[in-house]
């Protein structure tokens, strides 16, 4: 009996050992599959955007696999992603990244959702020299740490609303404007703020209100009363979806008249749907819009991507999904140019990336951020009670003229 038990234990350990050594040495490429790993927020406070991100990844994996996959050294491979739920928790995300790399043997990572979680994972991927292409961490601080294995397909946060200030100055005949701004105290929004400070300096504009909103704040009445009293030329607000919804609610209730209102996260907040006409004329920064004319052979253009995405997932793709899909296109391109599964060869190929995707041009700067794609601005415009986002800047892709100044509340119906 005793012998039998011993034999059993030995054989189990032998099999486990064999499996472990097998997975760790071949996991990066298993048979015909290139295995990518991602910790993603499927529960917790980022769960809706986490799901948008995952849908974007899955859509691109399906499409690339269906269209022949990735060709390395004459052999065709398919993509496969291992997902873990990070519960919107940075600590958990870092643990899961370790697990993906050490236990699952993943050699290539896709980013999580949000700057905060990307910041938690980047030191891990850097330590193990795992190339990570991320699509949802825009914070500037990600690109100033000298990370060598981090690549972001999106424009950094400080560029989000710079264009808006340029637009305001242009409307003011090239003279500097008076800016009122309110930013939540988190990494992303504070980076957006730095961008505005730069733009203000560059254009000779003056910042007359500079409020920092606490994270738990859902009342901006004091800031808006100050705006009402000081009458700035442009009001800039960034505080994720909560900030966008609170701002529109209270601006409309307090009848705050500003010639120009620029925000972030309008589409994630479904601003035009939740607030309808009250959100009209709001100017919103976005990484992507389906009307842009970029093209690639996998998704065609933005409009086709939006149609296909709608068919598959039942809703219009937010930019979070589009940029996530683009991350896979970048990986495919890098693998094919590297023509190898060596991590450093893939990393070097990523450095040399210069391509166009339906999402925009992609070329990585020295910090890993995408330097080839400008941010776009859209404006909420309504016909009756039907509101939609129309691209107004940069002019190359504008489908509509930028409406300026915003009519006073007393003149709005």
């Amino acid at each position: 009996m005793n012998k039998l038990v011993k034999l059993f234990i030995t054989s189990i350990s032998a099999i486990t050992l064999a499996l472990v050594s097998f997975t760790s040495s071949f996991a990066k490429v298993e048979g015909d599959y290139i295995v990518l790993g991602s910790a993603i927020s499927l529960t917790g406070k980022y769960s809706s955007n986490g799901v948008h991100t995952q849908n974007g990844y899955n859509m691109a994996v399906d499409r690339i696999n269906k269209m022949g996959g990735v060709e390395v050294q004459g052999k065709k491979y398919k993509f496969e992603i291992i997902y873990y739920d990070d519960e919107s928790n940075p600590k958990r995300a870092a643990q899961l990244a370790e697990r993906l790399i050490k236990q699952d043997g993943v050699h290539y990572m896709l980013g999580p959702y949000s700057s905060g979680l990307t910041k938690a994972i980047a030191p891990v991927t850097e330590k193990y020299k795992i190339p990570m292409v991320e699509a949802n961490g825009a914070s500037r601080s990600l690109f100033t740490k000298g990370y060598k294995y981090l690549f972001a397909v999106l424009s950094p946060a400080n560029q989000y609303l710079e264009v808006a200030i340029d637009l305001a100055v242009e409307k003011n005949g090239g003279k500097g404007v008076r800016i009122a701004q309110a930013f939540e105290q988190d990494a992303f929004s504070q980076d957006v703020r730095l961008g505005i400070l730069d733009a203000a300096k560059r254009t000779g504009s003056e910042i007359i209100i500079d409020d920092k909103l606490p994270k738990e704040l859902n009342d901006m009445a004091a800031t808006l009363a100050k705006v009402k009293a000081t009458k700035p030329d442009v009001l800039v607000v960034s505080g994720h979806t909560k900030g966008a919804l609170t701002a529109i609610r209270q601006i409309s209730e307090m009848k705050v008249d500003v010639p120009m209102l620029a925000m972030t996260h309008c589409d994630a907040a479904k601003l035009s749907k939740q607030h309808g006409k009250k959100s009209e004329y709001a100017l919103c920064a976005s990484q992507w819009h389906k009307n842009l004319s970029y093209k690639d052979k996998f998704f065609g253009g933005g409009k086709k991507y939006a149609r296909d995405f709608q068919k598959e997932f039942g809703y219009d793709p937010p930019y979070q999904s589009a940029e996530s899909s683009a991350a896979l296109l970048v990986f495919k391109d890098a693998f094919e140019r590297a023509n190898s599964f060596d991590r450093d060869a893939v990393r070097d190929a990523l450095v040399d990336t210069e391509m166009q995707t339906f999402y925009g041009n992609i070329k990585f700067g020295p910090g890993g951020q995408n330097i080839a794609k400008p941010m776009i601005l859209f404006q909420v415009r309504c016909k009756g009670d039907d509101c939609e986002n129309r691209v107004v800047a940069p002019t190359k892709w504008a489908s509509d003229k930028f409406y300026h100044p915003i009519p006073k509340w007393s003149e709005r119906s």
Partner: protein, 297 residues
């Protein structure tokens, strides 16, 4: 430091009104907390999450095409039963235990509620539209959203009703008796178990009303409950237990203080200033108590 508020007197009026209207709403939540704290000696960390759940009930009605203001009637009824259920499931097991245990238990409830709401209603920030418009005073220089006036009015209405109920009704008297001395009340024939369940239910109902009001004045999100817990905790600390006028005053006072701190010190110090005030009040109270030699260590 910014003294804009002293240059424009209308801002002062605006800040005061904003502070008071919001303070009244917070006072309602705090009163619920004071009530069950006083009666059951439980600090309910899930207070804010009950508020948000109440808000989601109103929001669901709004989605179904019913005006969200009806939430102030429907939400407390549903929330009362949620409260009683919570009591039967969890709270009755921690009532007579250490305060720390009840804090842990309600903290657990808070987490479960957050995740459940996230699961059912999604992680998006949502708002319900009341379309109540705006009241403008002093040639449009002071604007008051009617939804805020409405919510302050409803809060006062319910608070007054509750005070009368506590004074006049049988259950109200039983609740007050239990708060004063649970053992004596039991000996005199009060079913304290029932009283506890009703108290927790009433607290949840008050949270339901506040939540419905928040859905039309502020924003809803499964994870914003904690600030409401903290705020009501502070109001109760300042006002003491079982004293409604004091709770109302301290609610408005904190609301005012917060608004003025925002204007003078800057938005980033808004919450910090309130905490500083709290520390100051606690130190002051201790100092006063030790002077009277009532403080035994």
């Amino acid at each position: 430091m910014d003294f804009l508020i002293f240059k424009a007197p209308m801002l002062m009026v605006q800040a005061s009104l904003d502070g008071i209207l919001l303070g009244i709403l917070f006072a309602l939540i705090a009163y619920g907390m004071a009530l069950q704290w006083g009666v059951m000696n439980i600090i309910n960390i899930a207070q804010g999450d009950l508020v948000i759940l109440g808000g989601y009930i109103a929001y669901t009605m709004y989605l179904a095409g019913i005006h969200p203001a009806w939430g102030v009637i429907v939400s407390p009824i549903i929330m009362y039963f949620v409260g009683v259920l919570l009591y039967k499931l969890v709270i009755n097991k921690v009532v007579d235990r250490d305060l720390f245990i009840s804090i842990l238990a309600t903290f657990g409830i808070a987490i479960v509620f957050q995740q459940l709401m996230n699961f059912i209603f999604g992680a998006d920030v949502v708002v319900a539209q009341s379309e109540y418009g705006t009241t403008m005073l002093f040639d449009n220089s002071v604007t008051l959203p009617n939804s805020k006036i409405f919510s302050a009015f409803i809060s006062v209405l319910y608070a007054v009703a509750l005070v009368i109920y506590m004074k006049k009704s049988r259950l109200g008297r039983a609740i007050r008796a239990t708060a004063q001395n649970a053992r004596a009340a039991k000996i005199l024939g009060v079913d304290t178990e029932k009283v506890y369940a009703a108290t927790f239910g009433i607290n949840a109902a008050l949270c339901g009303i506040a939540g419905a009001l928040i859905s039309i004045t502020l924003t809803l999100h499964p994870y914003v409950g904690l600030p409401y817990t903290v705020r009501s905790f502070m109001i109760v600390i300042v006002a003491g237990l079982g004293n409604l006028p004091a709770v109302a005053l301290s609610g408005m006072g904190l609301g005012l203080f917060e608004e003025f701190a925002d204007y003078i010190l800057g938005t980033e110090f808004r919450i910090g200033a309130v905490f500083m005030l709290l520390v100051f009040i606690l130190v002051y109270r201790r100092f006063k108590l030790s002077k009277k030699r009532e403080y035994l260590k």
